[in-house]
Symmetry: C2
Subunit: 682 residues, 2 copies
């Protein structure tokens, strides 16, 4: 084609003005670098507009990009300002996590605070706080009450991210076509092609830098997504609105969530992703002994297969007898929890419309809640109580205290919540300020009653588990269940190797691995064809997912009957759910990943490695092991004839002696994986 006008640079206004370095006057810019000097953030004012920019190792990552806000009934803020003050600080501390993919976090950053004031009346003020870490950067706004700035209705946060190049983004839609449920399959596109997408947004830049845009410490604000603009490298913060269009209601002084950009030179260096934790406040729960990472089984997959029902009837899953069977299985197999869905009144009929009808205390007649809870306690198993809200938030909040008090009395320390439905009756989506407040309220209320929470259909993770470690895990991505019934025929084999480098960078996910009946023949007695919905995975890959996809609660998701006489189930018995250390050994987004994790406070390592639809081999050096020590590798590998299509359950279990000098030769079947336990040689 011919472009009628040129040069057409659809950069952000600030980036276009500032593309050539050296234009800004020195007194109008301030700069802070990470402790290692590699990440640098510049904050400044150009033609009255507040902006920031990010570099890594001398390469531009974010070109000068706008900062600011618009409001209903008040002038926009940030486009007619000057810098009035600045201050510097920093921290270099190490702190422990009660549980996690690492045991300790070294929090080391340099901080720059830049005060802005409007040039003219009403001379409102705000501060941009920047923290530069070796692993990325974060910045947030502090809105001052100066200039009579009190109650506000924010209509947009104008923060922009103008990428230095048209990076390839790995994205899922935000808002369309399925509102804010994060349950899309991933696409990848140049930034200039994407529409509005969820975070974390992983960007492979042409410069070689890998950047991940996300947010941290989301407490009383709308959740962030990112809006792209056709033929532009500028992404803009997009906030989910209240029903009346306002994005955020607040009162200055007010502090926003952090906008975070994780930075790395290789995708393998993205995990463990700790930047978000470092930008959340310290722990608010002193005694965490009741918060237990655990493996669990449950009455769940059977409903997805139509073997059980949530509601009452001849196939009701959550009966006392069936639950005891699951508790017995857990107790006998080193699982610490049993989840029961469909135990409470509200499921009969069209429960999706039953926003006001769920009871969170009243069980169905065939379910003896106190009896089951006592039975679980007697077996040393945690009952995980399920709370499906159907987005009936008021109904749930009314019952929160009474329900959680009941669970506490019954010795229950964990719940799984659910928020099926795109919106509340009032029209609030999962990611708006109303629901952000709600999700937080549930976690804080649960903490009072010593209850840990696993949220399905959540808001995305913004690191709140540092402050509230009873915020255990969440869904917030496309999990195993889509392999039971998805119109797509099940998640593509590449799905988890994308999740690892995208969604999982925000925090734990309750993916629910461990399907052993991979042909789903239990349902009808005959195997499903490769064209039908079923896991596009080998058995060894199901095991590897326990290591690859981090969660402090990991389900053995299949019907317990399907674990009968399965030697491979030993891996699920053995695998840890709490870790000292995590190392990514190899990876490429959408193709494969291999991860090693060291069991918390134990001389034991696990390796999980997965591939996509392609058979491939990896040579994995075990150099993470201590030098000079002998280990035994218990290897759960794809059998030579395995493939997700034809022979998914073919597994080969073997042992071999290894040391830190060993290079393991991993051979993957199509859709395959490998799970390895490393224990000291006897």
């Amino acid at each position: 084609m011919i472009r009628p006008h040129w040069p057409v640079r659809s950069l952000g206004a600030i980036a276009a003005a500032l593309l050539l370095p050296g234009l800004a006057r020195a007194q109008d810019t301030l700069r802070v670098t990470s402790p290692d000097g590699r990440n640098a953030v510049t904050v400044g004012v150009r033609e009255g507009v507040a902006y920031y920019a990010v570099e890594r190792a001398g390469k531009h990552v974010i070109l000068p990009s706008r900062l600011g806000f618009t409001f209903r009934g008040a002038r926009s803020l940030g486009d007619s300002v000057r810098i009035t003050a600045s201050a510097r600080a920093g921290a270099d501390t190490t702190w422990s996590l009660p549980w996690g993919e690492v045991a300790r976090v070294h929090e080391h950053y340099n901080e720059l605070r830049v005060g802005f004031a409007e040039i003219a009346e009403p001379r409102r003020q705000f501060t941009v706080v920047v923290r530069a870490f070796d692993e990325g950067i974060g910045f947030r706004y502090e809105l001052s009450g100066a200039g009579g700035f009190g109650d506000f209705e924010m209509t947009d946060e104008r923060t922009e991210f103008t990428l230095a190049d048209d990076a390839r983004a790995w994205w899922i839609h935000a808002n369309v076509p399925r509102p804010d449920r994060y349950e899309d399959l991933y696409s990848s596109s140049p930034v200039s092609v994407i529409d509005t997408v969820q975070t974390p947004l992983t960007l492979e830049m042409q410069s070689g830098v890998v950047a991940v845009i996300h947010e941290a410490d989301l407490v009383d604000y709308a959740g962030m997504s990112l809006a792209g603009h056709y033929e532009s490298r500028t992404l803009q913060v997009a906030l989910a609105p209240w029903a009346d269009g306002v994005k955020v209601r607040g009162h200055a002084p007010f502090v926003t969530p952090w906008r975070t950009i994780q930075l790395a030179d290789r995708v393998e260096d993205l995990a463990p992703s700790l930047l978000g934790l470092e930008l959340n406040p310290p722990r608010r729960i002193e005694n965490t002994s009741w918060i237990r990472p655990m493996k669990y089984d449950g009455i769940w997959w059977g409903m997805h297969l139509n073997v059980y029902t949530w509601g009452q009837g001849p196939h009701h899953g959550a009966t006392t007898a069936n639950t005891k069977r699951y508790i017995d299985f857990a107790a006998g197999n080193g699982l610490s929890g049993t989840l029961v869905e469909g135990w409470n009144v509200g499921w009969d009929g069209n429960w999706m419309q039953n926003r006001d009808g769920f009871s969170f205390t009243q069980p169905y007649p065939d379910y003896d809640l106190p009896g089951v809870a006592a039975y679980a306690r007697s077996k040393g198993v945690s009952l995980i109580v399920h709370n499906e809200t159907a987005m009936g938030i008021e109904n749930y909040e009314r019952q929160l205290d009474s329900a959680f008090a009941l669970y506490h009395r019954l010795g229950v320390h964990a719940i799984k919540t659910g928020y099926v439905n795109d919106k509340t009756a009032a029209g609030d989506s999962h990611t708006g300020q109303y629901m952000v407040r709600h999700y937080r309220k549930v976690v804080e209320t649960a903490a009072k009653y010593q209850i840990a929470v696993d949220v399905h259909e959540p808001i995305h993770d913004t690191g709140e588990r540092r402050t509230w470690p009873n915020m255990l895990s969440r869904e917030g991505a496309r999990g195993q269940e889509y392999n039971a019934w998805g119109g797509e025929g099940g998640n593509p084999p590449e799905h988890e190797s994308i999740l690892f480098f995208t969604r999982m960078l925000s925090g734990p996910m309750d993916f629910t691995p461990g399907i052993f009946d991979l042909l789903i023949k239990r349902q009808t007695g005959k195997p499903r064809s490769p064209d039908e919905p079923r896991p596009r995975s080998t058995l060894a890959k199901q095991l590897a997912l326990y290591v690859v996809l981090y969660s402090p609660v990991q389900m053995a998701a299949d019907l317990i009957e399907n674990y009968d006489r399965q030697p491979a189930f030993q891996f699920i018995r053995d695998v840890a759910v709490d870790w000292d250390t995590t190392r990514v050994l190899a990876g490429r987004i959408g193709d494969y990943v291999a991860v090693a994790r060291k069991t918390k406070s134990k001389d034991e390592w696990f390796v999980g490695a997965i591939t996509d639809e392609a058979a491939r081999t990896l040579d994995l050096p075990l150099s993470f092991l201590p030098n000079g020590r002998r280990y035994v590798a218990q290897i759960y590998a794809d059998a030579p004839n395995a493939s997700w299509r034809e022979n998914p359950e073919a597994i080969r279990i073997s042992s071999q002696p290894v040391t830190s000098a060993t290079r393991l030769h991993v051979v993957f079947a199509p859709g395959g994986g490998q799970a390895i336990r490393l224990i000291p040689a006897p």
Copy 2:
């Protein structure tokens, strides 16, 4: 999440009904296989609905998928039918192309014709013709005039493609946000995530099969795109409408274009892509001596850089003197053509709105068209005359005969046409039936005057060059020009390695490689930064593109000043534009590709290899060379310190003796490439 109703299979209605094999009664299905027996097409009726299905090597590719149409003012066709007749045929012939990426085509297929008739009145009839080739399949509809079926207004073609798995698709948008210009950057997504996309659509299936959906022999119909449906594996034919919403106007008997599915086991086997040619009618031009593949220079890039203007003024590019300079350069450097844009009246002011104002015969006062044409002839150079229509189709068609007659008189045998603007004044897009007719009319009219055509902003290629070999090349993708001014900062380094496996499967592209001033310092005297628009390519990659991106007309696109004293320009002098054979040596979509092509009727080969933003190495066996013969490889490689960002023009030119036993070790810089000429050793 929890799915309220299940199993939810968003397959096409037919696929859902027919998912389990063996349900259809034998007499209702017919089957045809390719000569090698690996590709099979089934055509049948189920519950009155006509369908087809495709397998390759026993793996499902297309599950049973609907066939049929809807009309304005008439009942839909295809959903209440029975099979009334069938016939079989086939062909096994070899024919020559006057020019191409191969010299000869072996057309070998088995054909099945299936006659359908409506069960009830008006008992309309149609035939589905299927051809199964080793390289893929094609099918088309023949609408009979039976049942009083005469004039029709088709509102939809209901052909569906229900993929056997949720394949990863490499796609560009259709219709949104930029109507039907094919000039997007590519995204990749599972089929269940895509919206409406252009063809060819390349699909990497989880089964390992690679499938490419496209069309062939588009003559008097609307261009096809494919509409996806969220959480479904079914793609549906989407046709660009007339302004009144009707998709296709016609009169039965009527034949539709072919719907084609190229099939391969590896992406490397997709090229050369000849299926579309095989499904077009034989050549209609007997004497093709005036149709000449050629390299050309031209007054073009200078306009994109703002060095020249299309319109009149002090920087007008298309002056007599400047044109003669370009002709001289072509004549002195083995280029056979010179393109001149902006030579004719119509460019001044806002030419995009000048749909009625362009003259295709009247030059600007500073451009002596007859003199320039005579000068070109005297130098043995073809003048390539530019016709920009601004989508003023009536204005162009009014002048077609007089303009082409003039060009013929002047000895001009090639034009480049242009169709900037999204729609005609009446609202017709590039891909609707109106424009399909127009594009075809230009080619046929041009043939009468012995003029070959290179179309910019075209309809996609559907193999018409077999019938009309004066249909030389076209744009129809994002080419080099976006590196001059794109808001994205230039095409990502991966772009061409995606084009090869997507757009290029439909036919030649006038990409216009050969930019040597890669920092674009000629424009302002200072190099552009890596953040600004410029080719994200090394110099060696610019050379490699002549081999990788096939076109019978290849531009040396830079300002000729920039070729001055450039040793690397020798490759452009040498490289062929017409080929006996094409072999893909290695490739992965979006990462890299290496192609070998044998010069037409000459013992000479060229290899082009390109990478994306990643430095990498490839070992290329030269086993395509004849055994026991010695060749010299003239190698244009990225210099050790080259990279598109910092040092794009660093090239190392060397020679080495090679044989068919040699494995060339190719080392790519980031954004790099390698171009090789192989000639017999002296």
